[in-house]
Symmetry: C2
Amino acid sequence: MKATYMYGAGDVRIVDVPKPVIQQPTDAIVRTVRACVCGSDLHPYHSLPAMEQGLSMGHELIAVVEEVGADVKTLKKGDFVVVPFAFQDNTCVFCQEGMQTACVHGGWYGTPQADGLQAEYARIPQADGSAVAVPGVDPETASEDLLKSLLALSDVYLTGFHAAYMAKIEAGQTVAVVGDGAVGLSAVLAAKQLGAGKVILMGRHEDRTDLGREWGATDVVAERGAEGVTKVMELTNGEGAHVVLEAVGHMPAYEQSYGIVRPGGVISRVGVPQYEEAPIGFGSLFGKNARLAGGPAPVRAYLEDAIQQVLDGTIDPGKVFDRVVGLSEVPAAYAAMDARESLKVMVDPAL
Amino acid sequence: MKATYMYGAGDVRIVDVPKPVIQQPTDAIVRTVRACVCGSDLHPYHSLPAMEQGLSMGHELIAVVEEVGADVKTLKKGDFVVVPFAFQDNTCVFCQEGMQTACVHGGWYGTPQADGLQAEYARIPQADGSAVAVPGVDPETASEDLLKSLLALSDVYLTGFHAAYMAKIEAGQTVAVVGDGAVGLSAVLAAKQLGAGKVILMGRHEDRTDLGREWGATDVVAERGAEGVTKVMELTNGEGAHVVLEAVGHMPAYEQSYGIVRPGGVISRVGVPQYEEAPIGFGSLFGKNARLAGGPAPVRAYLEDAIQQVLDGTIDPGKVFDRVVGLSEVPAAYAAMDARESLKVMVDPAL
C-alpha cells in the first residue's frame, strides 16, 4: 500500500510498504476514507535532520474498519469511524479523568508503536478506545462537507476545543486567540460554543480571519509583537483578555499571550511548543497571577459529543479544509501548507 | 521612630526616621502592635547589592489606627486592624475580580510608594481597602497566640491559602506541598481546610514537618530532587499528585513540582520565583497537560473570612511564629531565619 514518509526537512515521499496486520488482539485494521496534513507536521518539515529510514507521517483519520482483533468489543468490520490523533485504552485512571493523551497504554502515531495515518490502511492500537463509530453515516454516500467536518474532529477542531475547555471560559468573557491557522480558527469556534463574549483573533491572513469572523470572532488584530499587544489592550479597556488561546507553539506567540492576558486570567496552549524554557516569573505570569494550561488534546474525551454536534449541524469545523488531494500529491500538500497557499489539506486515497 | 532598613546582602539595621504623616486623604497612620520577618525578605538578604540609601523593609502588620485621612470611611482612630502585605483600593475592576494584588491604585510596601512595615508606625495607602478592623479584640489584652494568628493573616497563612485556592482543590484530592517554611506549612493547613485528602509535605526539618503533621500532612518526604520525586510517585501509586503547592520560589522546587504533578494536575506557586525562565514545554508541563497557577496572594480577598476563622478557633496559623523579638533585635531575627534557627520571627516594638 501507499504511505507517507518524511526523510528530512522538506523531504516528504510516498512509498510502498506492506499493508498493516493485526499485531495485538486489541488492534483494528482500517481502510482510510480521508486523512489530512496537520500544522504540527510542519514542525519536522522545517527541522527534521536527514535520515535514511524516514518517519512515518500522519495522525488524523476517518476510516472504515476492515478487521478487528479478538479482544475488540465495540467495533466490527464495516464500521465508519473517527480516529483521534493519539491512541488510548480509554479505561485507565488517566482516561477516566479525561486525560486520554496520558493513557498508560496509549501513544502516538508515526512512532515505533504505531505507523502514521497518511496511508491507505492503518493499524489502530487499543481500538476500543481509539476509534469511535459514527452512527448512521455511509462514507460512500456522505457529502464531502460532512466528511470534512468528521475528519476535523480527529485533531484540529477538538484541539482548538481543548484549549477553550481547559481555560474554563465563563459566559461573556473576553477571549483572545493567538494564531489564524486551522487550530486557531477552531479555537474561535469552540470559544463561542463555550459562551465567550468578545473574541479577538490575532492573525494577518485575511482569507483565514474571514473564516474566524464567520465562526464568531468579533475583532481581528493583524499586528504582532508589542504592536499586537497594544491593540489587544486597547480593545479590552486596558485590562487584557480573561482567556488567551495560544494556537501556534512558537515563542513569539507565547510572549504575545502573556502580554495580553488579564491579571488572574489564563493562557491555554495547544500549539505544540517549539521551546522547552520560557518566561514564567514575576515579569510574565507570576506577577499578575496569570495561569497556564493546555497540552495534547484528549480528543477521545470530547469526541462523541462533537460527532453529534456535527451530525445535527451545530458546528461545521470542516471548513478549515480548502484543498483535497490524492496520496501522490501529499508532498505538494505539505509544501502548499508551508507556503500558506493552503490552510489545511484533506487527503482522499481514492483520488 | 525606629524602622528597619537593608543596606545590602546580610546588612540589616534599625535606624531613626521621621514618624509618617498623612500624605493623601485616603491614607491612615497606624501604630504597630506586631510586625514580622518574611521568608521573601531573605531573598534580598542573600542578593541585595550594597547601597547607601537602604531599602525600607517589612510588609506584615497588625496595628492600631492613630489617624485617618479625610476620605477614609471604614476606619477610625483606635481600630485594631490587620494589614495585608500589598495595598489596594478594593474597588477597582481587578479588586472586584478577587485580584487585589493587581489593583490599579495598589502597590507594595518598602517601595517609593510606601515605606516598609517593620517599624513603630506606618502610613497605609488606600486605607479603606488596605486595612481590615478586627471586631471585638483589644490588642492590649488579647492573648499572644491570638495576636500571632491575626498577624499570620497579613501574609503567610493567606499566601499558603492562595496557593490552595488557585489550585481549586477538589475534595479528597492528593496534594503535595513543596517546602516546609512558614508558607509551605500554611499551605498544608489551607489545603486541609479546602478538603484535601492525602497531603504530602516535602521538607527535611523535623521540627517544621511536625507542625505540618499537626496541621494535616499525612506523609512527609525528606528527600529532594530526583529521589524526592521517586518517593512522591511511590506514595501516589505512580500517578503523581493532583495538586502541587510550591512554596519556595527557587528552581529546584519548581523542577520537583513538575516531576510529581499528575497528568492534568496543577502546580500552584506562591514562593516568589527567583527565576524568570523555566521549563514549560513538552517535557515538563505541556506533555502531561499540567497546569500552572499562582502569584502574589490577594490577601484582602480572603481576609474577612480568615479573621472569623481565627476568632472562632477554626484555624491557628500563628503557630508558625517560634520567636518574638523587639525592633532592636530584627537584624538578629533575619540572621536566625536565614540560618533556619527560627521558622518565623514576630516583632513586638514594645519589647
